[in-house]
Each structure stands twice: as C-alpha cells, then as structure tokens.
C-alpha cells in the first residue's frame, strides 16, 4: 500500500515535470527579435533603415569595422588617401595598412573588410526593399527611395576600388566591375557586372531615389541634397558633364563659410554638411585612430600628411589649420592629420578620435560643377563655381586661371578641399593620372623616412584592387582582376 502510494507520488512528479519541461524546448531569444516580426509597421522600416546605415559604421568594441571603419582593415575613411600622395607612412606608427600604402596588396591582403561590409549594407537595403511590399501608406515611397540611394552608394564605393572608373580609360565601361546585388538570397553566387552596367544601375537607383526621397530624413540619414550630390559625383565619374551639373544644381546646402570651417572638424559647426553621421555617446567610435593615437604632444601617427601636400596649402588657407597640426613624440615633430582628432571639449579639442562622420559636403557640388563645366568648355562658369569654394577658404583667394591652368586649379582645389576625405584615389584614377609621391620623409620638415614606393604609373593594374581569395573561394563566379 505504502509502495503504491510512493509510486503514485513519484509518477505524478515525473509526468508533471515532463509536460512543463517539454515546453521549455521552445526557447525564444531575449536579445533579438524573430525576423518575421521585424518588417511590418512603418516604424519597423524606419528602424531597419537606420540599421542599414549602421553598416557604414558598425563597430565591435571601439574599433569600427564598417565601410567607414577603422584603418586596420582598410576602409573608406583611410584607403582613398593611404593609397595616394596625400600621406606618408610614419615611422612612429604601427605600420597599419602598409600593404595598401606600398601597393603591395594581393588576394590575401586587400580591402576585404570594405568589400564584405559594403555588401552587408546592400543586403540590409535589399531586405527593406523586398519587405516593403508589406508596407503601406505615405512613408513607403521615401523608405524605398532611401534604401535605393544607400544601395547605390555602397556599390559606387565598391566599384571605385575593384573596378575601373568610366572616364579612367576607354575600355573601362566594358571591363568588369562588381556584382550589383538586388536580392537577399543567402545562396546566391552572383558574377561581376561590367563597369558600365554597374554605373547604369547606380544611376537608376539614384534617379529613382532623388524623385521620391524626403528633403530631410533626420540625423545620420540621406535626404534629397545627399542623393543629388552623390548623383552629380556619379555623372562626373561617368563623364556625363551636363547631368553632373544638373544634379549638382539640385544641391541647396550652402558651402561652409571660412569662419565656421575649423569648427566642422571638432563638431562645433555643421555648416556645409550634406550627409554626416553624429558620433553619439552610444556609438563612441574612436574613428580618429585611423590617423593618430595619443595626445598632440605624445602622438602615435599611422600616417602623416605628406610634406608635399602640406606645402600646397597657402598660408591663408583655413584648411591647413583645420586638417593638419604639429604632432610631437619623443622629441620629433610631424605633420599630423587632424581631421578625425576629436570633438571640442570644454576647454580644447579632445584627442580621443571620437568625432562625427562627415560623408558628403556641399563644396563638392560646386567643385563637381566646376569640373563638369570646364569639360564642357564653359571656362567662365567653371571658374565661378571654383571660386564659390575658394572665396570661403582663403582670405585672398587665387582666381582668374584659364585653360589647363584652370583645369589644374580645379583639380588642386579638389585635392586641398577633400584631403583625407575619401576622394583622392578615385580622382587620380578617373583623371587617368599616376600616383606620384615626392621623396620626402615623415617628419615635419620633410626629413625622416620617405614612403618605400613613390610611383604608381598610369595603366597599372594596381589601380584596381584585388578581390580577396576568400571571396573567390566562396563565390567562384567572381573573376579576379588582371595582374593578381
């Protein structure tokens, strides 16, 4: 009797346990949301849109790995200058991205992080676009436009590195660019499109975006001005001069005045910014480690402004003060790059490298126009466009050039205005110019150790970066660039 009683108790206990435990096999994550619930309401799409932008700056700890990430992996923030004559490798740094600077890259060391991060952004925009069929109401058109704009921007950066630029050479449009991806299939193995196809699709996405996007989408997001600015750059790269001018004319943001210019770089001014990403407290991304670590008097420079570039800035050019400072370390002085040094603190500028991302600025629209007008033979309007920028940078701006002197002045101004701002490599490349580094060292007075390699001749295959071997291993449809 007693035994039966015990058995019943035990049996009940076991059976009861069984039922409740079985249910616990259905565990739902605490720190993430089931994807089926993530793209339904308009707010979901706003969240997803910010998530897509996040791919530009995504961070692990304080080291950013996104497209505009930390230099270690080579990124939009650094590579377009590291590859060129704007910087010199500094001997007191850590030789970060030296392979890029020395044009010593191969399938094992290339811009693989930029590559995969760009496609991460693209994947996120495509998820929005695919799911937007569920979205109704008046926010839809803007979300679709914005996603397309971001998708185009990511592809443009990719094809700039890994493919030719249409105006670079006659064969450019027919040569291989990058895969233009518009679907989210995890098993896809897309082949490379031609450069011409890539640019056509970029233009298509951007023109559709320009038509529907809001004037402003708030902080950290692109609005109409940003899309038009990007579109004018794309047309410039394509050599479609009139389209470039038309798109640039749509940009309404005024160019930052000289007085406000230095403040742009310590985040006390937002003048002239068309698209920027605030480096808020919850981000705290130390993007400044791209160029320097430490304080101005105990500095570690990865790269310094090249002696040649430093001397190109006229004494009354406000940009020299904004971009370059004298960094000291162990009794040596350097032309340190100050563009990402830090925000303004209570007393002085901080040096923790936490500063807003400036992606597009209004002066580019003017310089795009100047270049396109010059190429159409309209020297007068071209000079006027150029002076729109120069009058806001110098106290006594140069002016009055004609012919190739005007062309060179436009190019020089573009270099000075966008030094360390993700343009130089693409500009030299599309102009069909070699990269020539002068034989100056890394110290402030031009002495010290110069960069190892000083010339990348026109036509070198090294202008098109190699695809990572792991990229090709995963997707055999990706054909490696010639010469690697």
């Amino acid at each position: 009797m007693k035994n039966i009683f015990i058995k019943i108790i035990a049996g009940v206990f076991v059976m009861g346990g069984l039922a409740s435990c079985e249910a616990n096999l259905d565990q739902i994550p605490y720190d993430a949301l089931a994807i089926d619930n993530a793209y339904t309401s308009p707010q979901d799409f706003e969240n997803a849109m910010r998530g897509a932008y996040e791919g530009l700056i995504s961070a692990t700890g304080n080291i950013t790995t996104g497209m505009y990430g930390y230099i270690g992996s080579g990124s939009m923030l650094s590579a377009p200058d590291v590859l060129t004559d704007n910087v010199t490798l500094c001997q007191n740094g850590r030789f970060t991205a030296k392979d890029l600077h020395d044009w010593d890259y191969n399938g094992n060391s290339t811009l693989s992080t930029v590559y995969s991060n760009a496609y991460t952004v693209i994947y996120r925009t495509n998820l929005i676009l695919e799911n937007s069929v569920n979205l109704e109401g008046d926010t839809k058109a803007n979300i679709v436009a914005e996603a397309k704009a971001l998708r185009a921007m990511a592809h443009l950066n990719l094809v700039g590195y890994f493919g030719k630029i249409p105006t670079q050479s006659a064969d450019a449009n027919g040569s291989l660019g990058v895969a233009y991806v518009t679907i989210t299939d995890q098993f896809q193995l897309p082949a490379r499109n031609t450069v011409g196809e890539d640019y056509d699709m970029i233009v298509k996405d951007l023109t559709e975006a320009a038509a529907d996007i809001n004037t402003s989408n708030g902080v950290g997001r692109m609005g109409k001005n940003a899309v038009n600015l990007l579109l004018s750059r794309v047309y410039l790269y394509m050599g479609q001069w009139q389209n470039a001018i038309d798109a640039a004319n749509e940009v309404t943001t005024p160019i930052a005045p000289r007085a406000k210019f230095v403040g742009i770089w310590d985040d006390t001014s937002t003048d002239g910014l068309v698209f920027s990403i605030p480096n808020t407290a919850d981000l705290n991304n130390s993007i400044g480690v791209t160029w320097t670590q430490g304080t101005k008097t105990a500095i570690i420079n990865e790269y310094v402004a090249s002696y040649e570039l430093t001397n190109l800035y006229a004494a009354d050019d406000i940009r020299k003060e904004a971009y370059i400072f004298t960094g000291k370390s162990q009794g040596l002085e350097y032309n340190s790059i100050g563009k990402l040094l830090g925000k303004k603190g209570t007393s002085s500028q901080l040096t923790n490298g936490i500063v807003d991302y400036k992606i597009f600025r209004a002066s580019e629209a003017a310089l795009n126009r100047a270049e396109a007008l010059y190429n159409l033979g309209s020297e007068g309007p071209a000079r006027t466009a150029l002076d729109e920028v120069r009058t806001k940078r110098y106290t006594s701006p140069p002016s009055g050039e004609t012919g190739t002197a005007l062309r060179d002045a436009i190019r020089l101004e573009r270099r000075l205005e966008f030094a360390f701002e993700y343009q130089r490599f693409f500009d030299l490349k599309r102009w069909g110019l070699p990269i020539i580094r002068e034989n100056f060292g890394d110290l402030k007075d031009g002495t010290g150790t110069p960069s190892v390699d000083l010339l990348l001749p026109v036509g070198s295959n090294l202008f098109q970066l190699p695809f990572s071997q792991s990229t090709i291993d995963q997707n055999p449809n990706i054909v490696q660039n010639p010469g690697y």
Partner: protein
C-alpha cells in the same frame, strides 16, 4: 531549571544503572587483515547502539558488552564482520578485503561500476593522487600526463587560469566545441569555471573516453566526459579532522634566450642606422659610445624586469572534518588558496571555499543526501593584448635605456594632478609597467554548487532516485582606467577623466534527474538497468555599466562618475530534455556486456531536429576468470570493445536555428534593427561515432597493471558556421557539414618494480599516439577559420589544425636576402612569392601526435620521492615572439633578442638572419613558416619529497597521520623550442579562451608559465 536538570541527571543515572544490571563483560581482542597484520583504527561497535571503540595501533581493542549483543567490526576497504557476544572474553577477528571496496569504483554516468566489470575506456583519478600532486589552483592542469588520451594544454600561466582539455583528439572544428563535458556531483560546469572548485574537496575524477559510457551523456558527451565527485564521510567512523597547508614561492621560468641590454641595444641601433634603418634620433645613433650622454643613459636605465616581475607567493590552507554514524555521513571543509602570480603590484588569484556534504538514511526505504559547496574567488586580470598594454609584451619591447617615470627638463620627476607619478610611455608608446597600477582590472567569482538527492527503495530490486543539481556562477568584472593614468592620458577625455567598467554575469545551470533503477543478482548473473528522465536548463544574464568622469582615482563606484558611457543587459537560455535506458550485465564477472540508449532534445536546434538518439554497445571478457586459464601470475586479463554514437551541441549560439534581427547595433536617430542570425531550421546534432578496442591486465598480484586502447572517432554533421558568398551580405549560417576523424592508440602502464614492507618503487606512464584527419568539408572546399586562428586551414585529407604558410628557404649566402619556396618548390626571393597561392599545408598541426606523462615514486619507510613528467611531441607552434625579437630591423625601435646581431654581413655568411636592408624592400614580411617550430618538450611537472610519520609514533602524538613535504613544479624543461614550449593562448584579447579552436597555434605574450617551490603539511587526527 535546576529541577529539570536534576531530573535529566536522574534519568541518565537510571539508564547507567540499568545497563550495569545487564550481564555485562569486557571483551578484548585483536583485529587483523587477511595476512595477519594488525588493523589499527578499526571500528568495533555494539550493533543497535551508538557505543563502540576503535582498535589501537596494534589492532587491539577492548569493549564492554552484554551477552547476546552483536559486535560489528568494520574497516575501510574490508568487509564488515559481526560476532555475537556469548561466553567468550576474547575475540580475535580477521577481516577480509572487500573486493568491491578495494576495486577502483568507476563513476560511469548515472551509476558506478567496478573496474573489473567495466567495459568502457575510463580513467579514474583518486583523491590521494590529487593531493599528492598538490596542484596549483585549477584541476584541469592536473589532468595533464595523468590519463592516457587526455591532452592538456595550459591556457597560460595566469594564477587560477585553466587549461584546454582534449580527450582523444579534437572532436569539432567550432570554437569552444571540443572541450569535454564536466559534471560536478551531477551538475554541469564550464571548462573556464573549473578553477572555482577546491581540489581538496574532490574525491574522484573519472574520465570517460569511449562511447560505452559517454553515450550515456547523449548529446553532450562527444568530446568525452569528466565526472567529478566531491568527498563524503565514512559511516560508523568517528570524525577525522584534516589540516592541509602549503606555502611556497613562484617565479618566471627564465627564457632560454637573451634580450639585449642597454649597451647591446644602443650598438644595434647604431649598426642598423648605418644600414639605413631606424631614426637618427635613436639614442644609439645620437650618442657616441663612451660619451657622457651615453653614460647617463646607461646610468639612468632602470631594471625593467625587476619593475615588472616579482617572486610570487603561493599558499593553500584547508581544513576538513568528516565522519559518520550508522545512518549518516558527513564531510565539511573550508579552504583558502592564494597565488599572487609574478606580476609586480598585483595580488593574483585568491579563492575561499567551503563545502558540506551529508548523506542520511531517513527511513529504511528512503535516503537523502545533500552536497553544497560555495567558493569566492578574486583574480587580477592584467591586459592580455598583443601590444604593450600587455606587461609581458611591454617587457620584451621596451628599450632597456628607457626611463620608468617622466622627468622634466631639470631632471625632476613629474606628477599628475592627483599627485601620482607620470609614467614614461617609452618607445612602445604605452607605459606597460606603470599601467599595472593605473589600469586595475579584477574579476571576482561567486560559485555555488549544490545537489540534493533522494533515493527510494521500492523493493530489493527496484529503486528510484531524484536528484536536483544546481551550479550557479556569478562573475563580476571591475575594470578601471584611473583618472590621470597611463591610458587616460593617451586616449581619455580630459573633461571626463577616468573610465570604469562594471560587468556582472549570472549563469545558472539546473539539472533535474529522475532515475529508476533495477538490479538483479541471480546465481552468477548480475544485471542493472537504469531508466533516466532528465531536464537541464542553463540560464545566463549579464549587466554592464560604463561611466567616465571620475573626480579622483580613489573612488571607483559608478555613482561618483559624471557621464554614462554605456549600459547594457542581455540574457539567454538553453534547455535539454533527455530520456535514457542503460543496462549493464555480467556473468561471474567473466562475460560482460553493456548497452545504452539516450534520446535528447535541445532547444538550440531547428524545430524539427531537436531530438537525437544516441546509443552504445559494449562487451568484455575477463579471460583470467576462465577455469581453463591457469597462468597464476595473471590476476585479470580483460578484452573489451565498444561502439556507439554521441552528440555535441556546443559551439553554436543558443538561438542559432532561428532567423532574427538585432537592436544591439546603435545608430543615431532612434532604434536600429539589423539582420542578426539567418534561420536554419535544419540545424541538428553533431554526431561522433566511436569504436574502441581495449585490453586491460593486472599481473603478479596487481603489481603490474596495464591498459591499452585503440580507438576510431568519426565526427559527422559538424556544427559549422558555413560561409556564404561575400556578395550575399551574409557572413555565415550555422549548419551541419563535414566530417573529421581522430584515431589513436593509448597505452598506460604501471609497475611496482620493488615492493617490500619498507621499500617500494613504482614506475608508471602513459602515452597517446594520435592521428587526426579532415574527411569532408562543405562542398569539398577549404575552410579558413580566420576569426579564431592566425594561419590555420582546413582541407580535406589534411590533419586538423594544420598551419598554412609560405615556406621559408633561408638566407641566400650570396646577398643576404631571405628566400622562400613557391608552391611548386622553386626557391625565389620575396618578390616572386604570391602570399596566397604559395602557401602550403605541410602536415604540421598544432595538435601533438604523441602526448602523455610518466612518473617514478619511491617510498622508503616514511620517506617518499615522487617525480612526474609530462611530455608532448609532434605539434608545431608559430613563434611570433621569436619573430618579433628577431625582426631584421623592422622593429629596430623596439628591443630585440641578442641573436638579432647575427645578421648577414658579407657574401658567404651562413646560419645568419637576413640582411636588415632587405626589410626596406618588405622582403621579410612574407607570412612564412620561418618561425614555425616544433613544440616538443618534456617537463618535470612535479617533484615531491615527503616524509610521513610512521604509525608507531602516532600513539604518542595526537595525530592519526602526519605528512610533510617539499614540492617543486616545473623545475626542469627539456626542449629545443625558443621560449616556453607550453603554449595555449597566444593572446587572450586576440583569440579568447572560448573562441580558441587551435590551442597552441602561436606565441603572443600571454601570461608565462611559472615554476614554484612549496613546503606542505598534511595532518589528521
């Protein structure tokens, strides 16, 4: 009150009187063992009462008892005997060894089985062995060399740090998935948390190696199971109080190479500058030998080693009380362990623990037990980065002429605004030694291990038990960058000085186990069947806060800080539900068979794939027990075999099968959702099929013992982050693909070479010969686990964890240029090398193919000398430290090894490093096998000289045992490796313990191993 007291007194008196009225007499006698030797300390009890006595040193006893009462004689390891008191006044009794008790008892998953009838490859390590080895702080390190087939790689030398344990090779290619399952009194514990268990509390560690027993752990046993049981008291035995105490010192194991001193470094700078390397400002260039400036440099240079290192102090003190009565046994302990480690100004590791284990017979049919252990540990956590924030890297890199503090132009020391010294950042850019004081980081752990069980006997054959086991680990991390400190001065925000992180995690693992047990002993047939229903849930939560803006370095709590920088919580859960049926059978201990089936369901797999069935069969034959077998010197000769399937579910995220978006990646303007995990509803178990054939023998009255096992482990459906095309925007999706194989031979032998009453000499050892092979990979393609390794490549047909590097072909004697092999074997200079396609696999894996240990133990009277060696061979280590110290001028700004002087200088030079000028052309930065070295070593892990006070003195002393010893650890190492060959973690902040898939791949300045000398004392009474 007084009345009450006298009442009780009267009652007691009455009882005593009543006793004397009975027919009482005094019985004397001797208790001996089967060979006639006296058994001191044997229990003599009057059955049914609590009165009794113990035999003295000569086995003599004397007890008063009534005629008709029964005396029970018992002694640990012997069968108890009962004698009824009759006419006799003298009882001489000889106890027979209890076969079952003397046999090694093996805890084989939910049940225990005697070694004799065991059909599985298992190794058991007893409490006495553990205490003889007096391990440092963590028990996993102790396992090295103790059990054949168990490969142990110390993660590093940090006090309290554990080891990578691999049983029979590497069973998975995923991070963290190749560790065995650890079970402490029924609860699972993670490998990282083993350091929280006090060694002195451990009764037994049993390592289950083949499927016959691991399959009983179903989905978690594929990489072997380590079953740890804690101590219990002995029934019917008066309390034994035991004190165990150790004290000793530890120090850095001096590297087998030298780095440059001040003069050498200055000379090196000058030499290299003449070749065009380095800076004109370098002191070796800007000062001349013999000049006052140089003499000043030499004069002012500190002893950096002395600033960074100290002699560590190790101490361990435990006390335990154990014993039992007829219906209860208990074990209670408290302990404290300290190991300061060798970093100056740090306290290292300290653990305080306590445990109470009680078993109690509540009713005839019901017994209950409870084991509760608690420990609190604190551990200093210096940076383990691959830069000079890591003290060990800093001490290699710092130029010996650098000064420790900052001085102004007048030579006065400079202090920060809080009055603390400013430390010189030196050539390394970061004041590594000073930062030990200004960047304190400490972990503290509270670990609670508890299990309670109730056993119900239904009938003679049927019983049921319920066991509830809980393991709760709370970890707290305090990491502070002091305002005005080294890091803050470099990257801090001057408006908000200081930066403090508080992080706490709470991990709870609960197992509820229901067992229904059936045993049958019929004639010579023995059968045991166990039905299991078990539920396990693991919950994790964490919380963190980071603030900046501390008013003073004295205050460390967040409430004092001005600005919140980061705050977070997260959580996850993992559930497992299991059904099992296990059966063991033997006939006359001669024919043996076992079988098991376990059906597991885990919450981290795809909806339709949560359940998996794992089973095993095994059989054995003890030939020595056959009547036809008449070789008398053979005590046991057993052949056994097993086959089974075992699962693995670790190495993937708890929600890996579900498609999710995450909100954890912030973006300005509002919430941001990013695709997080890509769903794979087909995700299922990783399955290992193990075949094992074993031979066990005991010869010459157990003087010679041996075990040999041959095994084949095949793992399929590997849990793998399967890479997707970069263009898809998806990096990896958790899936099942691929197949690997580990096979090998394990041998372990032990013999008493001499065995007399006064002198015994025991020799023993074990070894595994291991082969690993990758059989199948996703679509046959190579896989590079690049997130968790440096240069490892997985390729079909290759070994697991092979280095994938360009081959170095030495220096061209004609011109000093480094040469390399192209993939096809032709020798070229660096410019002819394609760093992708010229890499090759050479069969050089990070996994040792021979590993084990051996020992000698000499006992003469009370003296003992035990020496344990561990060895490892056949593994290859990429020696980044050597590479950095011989950088061919690339790191001329940092200190170098003296051997860096030995560079090519003129045509014909051989046996030299490349001409430093080749560095200017990037000829030396090819990622090659130039510094890939054999990791072979033999290390004297332990040597102990001990003296145990002989029994004859015990009578005069208040002790029952007394042992003193002096012990040395890691005093001798034999290796050709450059540096310390025991390499586990390279740098924990490059690849963490949990992420590591190839322990010992490379050296990178992790906490070095230490040697120690300790003096110890064990007493009980």
């Amino acid at each position: 009150m007084r009345t009450k007291f006298s009442g009780i007194l009267t009652l007691i008196l009455a009882l005593v009187v009543q006793l004397t009225f009975a027919q009482q007499k005094t019985i004397t006698g001797t208790v001996t063992d089967d060979t006639g030797l006296p058994l001191p300390g044997a229990n003599v009890l009057i059955k049914g009462t609590s009165s009794g006595t113990q035999s003295d040193f000569d086995g003599n006893f004397s007890i008063s008892a009534n005629v008709g009462q029964t005396l029970t004689f018992s002694y640990v390891g012997f069968s108890a005997k009962e004698v009824k008191v009759g006419a006799q006044n003298k009882i001489n009794i000889s106890l027979l060894p209890d076969a079952a008790a003397l046999e090694e008892v093996v805890i084989t998953g939910y049940s225990t089985r005697n070694q004799t009838v065991q059909t599985s490859a298992v190794v058991s390590i007893s409490a006495s062995e553990i205490s003889e080895l007096a391990p440092t702080t963590s028990i996993d390190n102790l396992l090295q060399g103790k059990a054949a087939g168990v490969q142990v790689t110390a993660a590093n030398g940090k006090p309290g740090q554990g080891a990578f344990v691999r049983i029979r090779g590497t069973g998975s290619l995923s991070a963290g998935a190749s560790s065995p399952l650890y079970i402490v009194d029924g609860a699972t514990i993670r490998e990282q948390e083993l350091g929280q268990i006090a060694n002195e509390d451990i009764e037994n560690i049993t390592i289950l190696k083949d499927a016959a027993t691991t399959a009983r752990y179903g989905s978690r046993g594929a990489n072997g199971v380590v079953v740890i049981t804690t101590k219990n008291g002995n029934r019917n035995k008066e309390a034994t109080v035991r004190f165990s105490s150790r004290y000793g010192v530890s120090s850095l194991i001096k590297p087998n190479f030298n780095v440059m001193n001040v003069e050498q470094k200055l000379q090196y700078e000058a030499e290299l500058f003449a070749l065009g390397l380095g800076s004109a400002a370098a002191p070796g260039v800007s000062t001349n030998p013999g000049s006052p400036e140089r003499l000043k440099l030499i004069d002012e240079s500190p002893d950096w080693q002395k600033l960074g290192y100290k002699e560590g102090v190790i101490s361990s003190n435990t006390a335990s009380i154990s014993g039992g009565a007829e219906k209860i046994d208990y074990f209670f302990s408290v302990g404290n362990d300290k190991n300061t480690g060798i970093i100056n100004n740090l306290n290292g590791f300290e653990r305080t623990n306590s445990r109470l284990n009680i078993n109690f017979d509540a009713k005839k049919w019901l017994s209950v037990g409870v084991n509760v252990g608690y420990s609190h540990a604190t551990s200093d956590e210096p940076r383990d980065r691959n830069n000079s924030q890591n003290l060990f890297r800093f001490l290699y890199d710092v130029n010996p002429y650098e000064r420790y503090y900052v001085y102004d132009a007048d030579g006065n020391q400079v202090f920060n605004e809080y009055g603390n010294p400013l430390y010189n950042n030196t050539n390394t850019g970061f004041a590594g030694v000073g930062s030990i004081l200004t960047e304190p980081a400490t972990d503290s752990w509270n670990t609670f291990l508890a299990s309670g069980d109730a056993q119900v006997k239904f009938t003679k054959n049927f019983s049921y038990s319920l066991r509830y086991s809980l393991n709760s680990v709370n970890r707290r991390r305090d990491s502070y960058s002091l305002p005005g400190g080294v890091l803050i001065n470099l990257i801090g925000n001057p408006d908000f000085p200081g930066n403090k992180l508080d992080f706490e995690s709470f991990r709870t693992d609960i197992t509820i186990s229901n067992n229904l047990n059936y045993t049958l002993s019929l004639n010579d047939h023995h059968l045991n069947v166990l039905g299991l229903y078990e539920y396990n849930i693991n919950s994790y939560r964490d919380i963190l806060a980071r603030k900046i803006g501390f008013p003073t370095p004295i205050l460390t709590t967040q409430v004092n800080a001005a600005q919140l920088n980061d705050a977070n919580t997260s959580a996850n859960k993992l559930a497992l539900l299991s059904y099992g049926l296990f059966a063991d059978y033997d006939y006359k201990e001669k024919y043996l068979a076992s079988a098991s089936a376990r059906y597991d369901a885990s919450s981290n797999f795809g909806k339709d794939n949560q359940y998996g069935l794992f089973y095993s069969f095994s059989a054995g034959w003890n030939i020595a027990k056959e009547s036809f077998f008449n070789a008398d010197f053979v005590d046991d000769l057993k052949i056994r075999g097993s086959y089974g399937t075992v699962g693995n579910r670790s190495g993937i995220d708890n929600y890996a099968s579900q498609g999710t978006v995450s909100f954890s990646n912030p973006y300005p303007g509002g919430s941001s959702s990013t695709p997080d995990n890509i769903a794979n509803p087909d995700l299922k178990w990783e399955t290992t099929k193990t075949t094992d054939i074993g031979l066990e023998f005991n010869l010459f009255n157990n003087r010679v013992k041996g075990v040999a096992d041959y095994f084949i482990r095949k793992t399929e459906d590997l849990l793998f982050p399967i890479p997707r095309a970069d263009e898809s925007g998806i990096s990896t999706v958790a899936g099942n693909l691929g197949e690997i194989e580990n096979k090998g031979l394990e041998i372990s032998l032990q013999a008493d070479v001499f065995r007399t009453a006064d002198f015994t000499w025991t020799l023993g050892g074990n070894i595994i010969f291991l082969d690993t092979k990758i059989l199948k990979l996703p679509e046959g393609k190579d896989v590079s686990p690049s997130d968790n390794t440096f240069n490892i490549l997985y390729r079909e047909g290759a070994k697991i964890n092979e280095h994938y590097l360009v081959r170095y072909a030495g220096v061209d004697p004609a011109n000093g240029r480094p040469q390399y092999y192209k993939a096809d074997g032709t020798i070229v200079y660096a410019d002819g090398i394609n760093q992708d396609t010229d890499r090759v696999l050479q069969g050089k894996s990070t996994i040792a193919n021979k590993e084990g240990g051996f020992f000698t133990n000499i006992r003469y009277k009370g003296f003992g000398l035990r020496t344990d060696f561990v060895f490892k061979a056949g593994n290859w280590i990429n020696n980044f430290v050597e590479s950095n110290l011989n950088s061919d001028g690339a790191s001329v700004t940092d200190n170098q090894a003296v051997s860096a002087f030995n560079y090519w200088q003129q045509p014909g030079d051989t046996g030299v490093l490349p001409d430093p000028r080749t560095t200017l052309n990037n000829e030396n930065n090819i990622n090659s096998d130039r510094f890939l070295e054999k990791g072979d070593y033999i290390r004297m892990r332990n040597v102990t000289l001990s003296y145990t006070l002989p029994r004859q003195y015990m009578d005069k002393l208040p002790f029952t045992s007394f042992r003193i010893y002096v012990q040395g650890q890691n005093l001798l190492t034999f290796t050709d490796f450059y540096g310390d060959p025991e390499v586990g973690l390279s740098s924990a902040e490059s690849i963490s313990f949990a992420q590591t898939v190839a322990p010992g791949e490379a050296t990178l300045y992790s906490y070095p191993n230490t040697k120690s000398i300790q003096l110890g004392l064990d007493v009980s009474f």
